[in-house]
């Protein structure tokens, strides 16, 4: 009763219709004048404050992709029918779904949580993981693994000490508690990320092909159910300007600036959802992420065939002072929305009950074409749902190749001083091995549970994470994420393809056949024509590259405005490639352990040091042209590696990327502490380069493999028959302490280990 009296008046549709001249804070909400005018036209009057809240958040860059959308047609244009064959659900849904055979489907997607993780590293990263996991759940899949591509500023900058440990603890704290193995990711340091760390999170889910669920509300009379955590004032900073307008004295209570995750609630929600799917009581489902109920209701309704009616006052609240506008926009975590047939409602609620998950019927699917939301009986929203969810503004932003690029590309590594003696090569190897980007990452990855679920066949520090999907047959998937932002800075088209190539190569190296791609495109401001040009080049690079490789992009995420002042981060199009393997027990690990096995170098090395780690670490240099992309060579190499795994021809394989052959040899040696003797003069002569270049060049489409002597002839015959360039460059040898690069230098295991392992603990402690 008293509550009734204290409730301030709300801005109803009726009221809005009679008060056309009310001044509305559209600019504060991030809308442009023409966008506001457009909204007025759509609703045929001024919007209510609740409607304005919904449009403003759904038409934001983050939700509407208004700057990037026009370039997305490149995806479709570059996807052939053949590529579409394995694609069960494509771009546009919560996450893409691919067919991996034998009735199994896999869904995977990456998302960014960059800005929140800078503000509050632990919670930002934790809720980033939580969000992407719910995306995967909303496809009807059981999440089976997570990955975390991370980028930070300078390792030695004091703020990195604040951000990195918090982010890592947050990724671990949330993912570990959910019981999802973390099977890979990246840790990259570059000054360009100092004020804009990148926290991307990827989740993989699996399901039977028959169990795919889509986010749509159809079937008139079906119930709309909100379930999971209560709604609080999380993440509604912006919209509080609206709420305060209607507030009487005192104003709204404080709204939290950050969202706090509750992984336990999410774990229970996962199990609850899976039980709901199993029982077949869900007609449509949508996760609540960015834009909360605004997004869930408008997208569900817009993807369905009717309208929707919602009683907003039924939403269970954590904070009773929340206003309707705020409830619509709250980004409280660990919530889902389902569409349920009335006859199945009881069963639905029995399952949520069993898991102690709060579930509330908010309304139902109607036969109109309007999304109508009421607040204690008053209509506060009455809009066409498509106009909110899908018909936001799009911009063809100006693009222009940055003027600095010519000078940058002109300034290659040719003139840099290079080591010429064995001792100098050795010193550079150790320097690189200890450098922030190439050092051992176990300080980070040991904080992640890689074993939970018992299906992990490969994880860090191997080239790809590999998990079993089908326990009967061992069928499973391999995933890797990669991006070298320096390459993308030098040439965004090539840089994006290089990220794709590296990720593809990592997956193939583990023995899996690459099948599909997701991306997380981290860029500066789209209002900067130079950034927009980088963005368009990157998308074009990925789309055309995928077409060449014959694997489709299934979905992804765009994160703009990663810049400090007018300085943008390096363009960072993170690529995730997913591959399939009939039996993951046959995966190829990255380190050798059997003495006597022969080491082969696959692929050709060119003088390609521009943008690479040697130039970066030894000279602090960035300039020139990134390595040449050769996707045909990547495909051939991939086939060789996959066949070698299937036929048992190799016992270990490690791809060559950052730091080149030198680092790959050191890593393969360090993995199990078994040494190797290597000779490089012949292969250097073959490729017309010196030993230094052979060791440190970052030419693509290369890998090293360890071949059992009994398989050597079969292996080399296969390479010869298929035209794969290969050279016998060494032998695994437990009598050699560490690495012996003959005629150049030796370096002991202990020295390698110390260089590799001490870097992160020296900064962050034990």
């Amino acid at each position: 009763m008293t509550q009734q009296l204290n409730r301030p008046a709300v801005d109803t549709v009726e009221h809005a219709a009679t008060t056309p001249d009310v001044d509305q804070p559209w600019a504060e909400l991030g809308l442009k004048a023409d966008e506001y005018a457009n909204i007025r036209e759509i609703v045929g009057r001024r919007p209510t404050s609740a409607e304005l809240a919904m449009y403003s958040v759904m038409w934001s860059e983050h939700c509407s992709y208004k700057s990037s959308k026009v370039h997305f047609k490149l995806w479709g244009e570059n996807t052939t029918d053949e590529m579409r064959e394995k694609l069960l659900v494509g771009i546009g849904e919560n996450a893409g779904v691919v067919d991996i055979g034998e009735g199994w489907a896999v869904t995977f997607k990456a998302e960014s949580h960059n800005h929140p993780s800078y503000v509050e590293p632990y919670q930002g990263a934790a809720t980033g993981v939580g969000g992407i996991v719910r995306d995967i759940m909303s496809m009807g899949a059981r999440p089976i693994a997570v990955m975390d591509p991370l980028r930070f500023g300078n390792l030695h900058h004091p703020d990195t000490q604040r951000v990195l440990p918090g982010v890592v603890a947050g990724v671990g704290g949330y993912g570990n508690c959910l019981g999802l193995p973390n099977i890979g990711g990246e840790v990259v340091f570059d000054d360009c990320y100092q004020g804009n760390p990148l926290v991307n999170a990827l989740c993989v889910g699996a399901m039977r092909t028959s169990d795919i669920h889509l986010a749509k509300a159809s079937g008139v009379g079906n119930k709309v159910v909100l379930f999971g955590a209560k709604t609080g004032g999380d993440g509604i900073g912006g919209v509080s300007v609206l709420a305060s307008e209607t507030f009487d004295e005192g104003g709204p209570t404080k709204r939290p600036a950050v969202q706090v995750g509750d992984p336990f609630a999410e774990k229970v929600l996962i199990e609850c959802c899976l039980d709901l799917y199993k029982a077949g009581v869900v007609d449509g489902i949508q996760d609540l992420g960015g834009a909360g109920l605004s997004c869930a209701t408008s997208e569900l309704a817009s993807n369905g065939d009717g309208g929707m009616q919602i009683e907003l006052d039924r939403v269970p609240l954590r904070d009773a002072s929340l206003r309707p506008e705020e409830i619509l926009m709250s980004e409280s975590q660990e919530r889902m929305m389902a569409v349920v047939h009335p006859e199945r409602l009881e069963e639905f609620l029995a399952i949520t009950d069993r898991w102690d998950v709060e579930a509330t019927v908010l309304g139902e699917v109607t036969d109109g074409d309007r999304l109508v939301i009421t607040w204690h009986g008053d209509v506060i929203v009455d809009v066409p749902p498509r106009s909110v969810a899908h018909e936001g503004p799009t911009y063809q932003r100006p693009l222009e190749r940055p003027a600095y690029l010519d000078a940058l590309q002109e300034n290659g590594t040719r003139t840099l001083a290079k080591p010429s003696t064995g001792d100098a090569l050795r010193a550079d190897l150790l320097t690189l091995l200890a450098s922030p980007n190439l050092c051992d990452k176990s300080w980070v990855t040991d904080q992640y549970d890689r074993y939970v679920m018992g299906n992990t066949a490969l994880a860090m520090p191997d080239d790809a994470g590999v998990v079993r999907v089908d326990e009967e047959t061992g069928r499973g998937v391999a995933v890797s994420t990669d991006c070298n932002g320096r390459f993308a800075k030098l040439d965004p088209y090539a840089g994006a393809q290089l990220a794709l190539a590296e990720s593809y190569r990592n997956v193939a190296t583990s023995g899996a056949t690459p099948l599909a791609v997701t991306d997380c495109l981290n860029f500066g401001s789209p209002e900067d024509p130079g950034v927009m040009w980088q963005f368009r080049e990157a998308i074009r690079g990925i789309a055309e590259g995928c077409k060449t490789l014959g694997i489709p992009v299934t979905g992804g995420n765009v994160s703009f405005y990663n810049q400090t002042g007018d300085v943008a981060i390096h363009p960072t199009p993170v690529i995730g490639v997913l591959g399939v393997m009939d039996d993951v027990a046959r995966r190829t690990p990255s380190g050798w352990r059997t003495p006597g096995q022969v080491i082969y170098l696959l692929g050709t090395t060119r003088d390609e040091l521009d943008g690479g780690e040697w130039a970066n670490v030894v000279h602090g240099h960035l300039g020139g042209h990134p390595p040449v992309v050769d996707l045909a060579a990547e495909q051939l190499l991939g086939e060789i590696l996959v066949n070698a795994s299937r036929d048992g021809l190799v016992d270990a394989a490690h791809d060559l990327s950052d730091g080149g052959l030198a680092i790959a040899l050191a890593e393969a040696t360090l993995r199990h502490g078994v040494g190797a003797r290597v000779w490089l003069d012949d292969v250097a002569a073959r490729d017309g380069i010196d030993v230094f270049t052979t060791l440190f060049s970052e030419s693509t489409a290369r890998a090293i493999v360890a071949v059992p002597r009994s398989e050597e002839v079969r292996f080399t015959d296969m390479c010869t028959a298929r035209g794969q360039v290969h050279a016998r460059i060494g032998v695994v040898d437990d009598q050699t302490d560490g690495l012996d690069v003959q005629g150049q230098f030796t370096v002991s295991l202990e020295e390698l280990r110390r260089a590799h392992q001490d870097t992160l603990p020296a900064v962050f402690g034990r």
Binding site: D262, F264, K267, T445, Y448, V452, N455, A585, G765
Partner: protein
């Protein structure tokens, strides 16, 4: 033989434990935290995970689940019970095992392939090991530091109730390198490392987890 595995809200490794039971040829039985019934099982595993988020203290809330009302007297009566990680924490909170587990001394979650020494090979869950044997088992936790007062620690050592000790290095600051303990009778065993992740070739660092499950199987056969 039937081995029950309890699922609490927030349990994570329950399915892995069921798989391990199946792998040695026993019949796995799922037990639900809310049931006050052990379904006639011959042994029980409390699996790893974060029951109730482990928010208060690990295992503190799970201890009061209805299923524990049935389990505690059964364990006191001799039913073989294995607590793995969070399960170990639940057993300590329930006072079925002495001591407690606190935050790792380095304050981070830690996932490593850990070397252990089997100190006591005569419990219900370790009879297929040899005393003094070194094994490698997955360790993964944030609150795995085993603590108890000096008198308790002395008593545990004296009575042979220390079942596993960390070898090579102590990963979490556990007093006296203790990784696992048993009750006086030897039927209740708790340890932080995860044997259920070490039972299949290709998945996990070793097969050193199998003897846990074959031990209890043999015990039931001979009982």
């Amino acid at each position: 033989m039937k081995v029950g595995v309890v699922t609490f809200p927030g349990s994570l490794d329950d399915r892995d434990a069921l798989r391990a039971v199946r792998a040695v040829g026993a019949e796995p039985v799922s037990l639900w935290h809310g049931d006050a019934d052990l379904k006639g099982v011959d042994a029980v595993i409390l699996p790893g995970g974060f029951s109730y988020g482990d928010y208060l203290r690990c295992g503190a809330i799970a201890r009061f689940a209805p299923v524990m009302d049935a389990l505690v007297p059964a364990a006191q009566g001799g039913l073989p019970v294995l607590g793995i990680c969070n399960g170990f924490q639940v057993l300590c909170e329930s006072h079925l095992l002495p001591g407690a587990l606190i935050r790792n001394d380095h304050r981070k979650f830690n996932c490593v392939d850990q070397r252990l020494v089997v100190e006591n090979a005569s419990t219900a869950w370790t009879s297929d090991f040899e005393a003094g044997q070194e094994i490698t088992i997955v360790l993964k936790n944030g609150e795995g530091g085993y603590v108890a007062d000096e008198a308790t620690l002395d008593r545990l050592e004296g009575e042979g109730q220390v079942v596993f000790r960390y070898a090579a290095s102590n990963p979490n600051g556990s007093y006296r390198d203790i990784a696992g303990v048993t009750n006086e009778r030897g039927n209740v065993v708790g340890l932080m490392p995860h044997p259920e992740h070490c039972i299949e070739d290709g998945y996990g660092p070793s097969l050193d987890g199998l003897p846990f499950f074959t031990s209890v199987l043999r015990q039931a056969v001979s009982a």
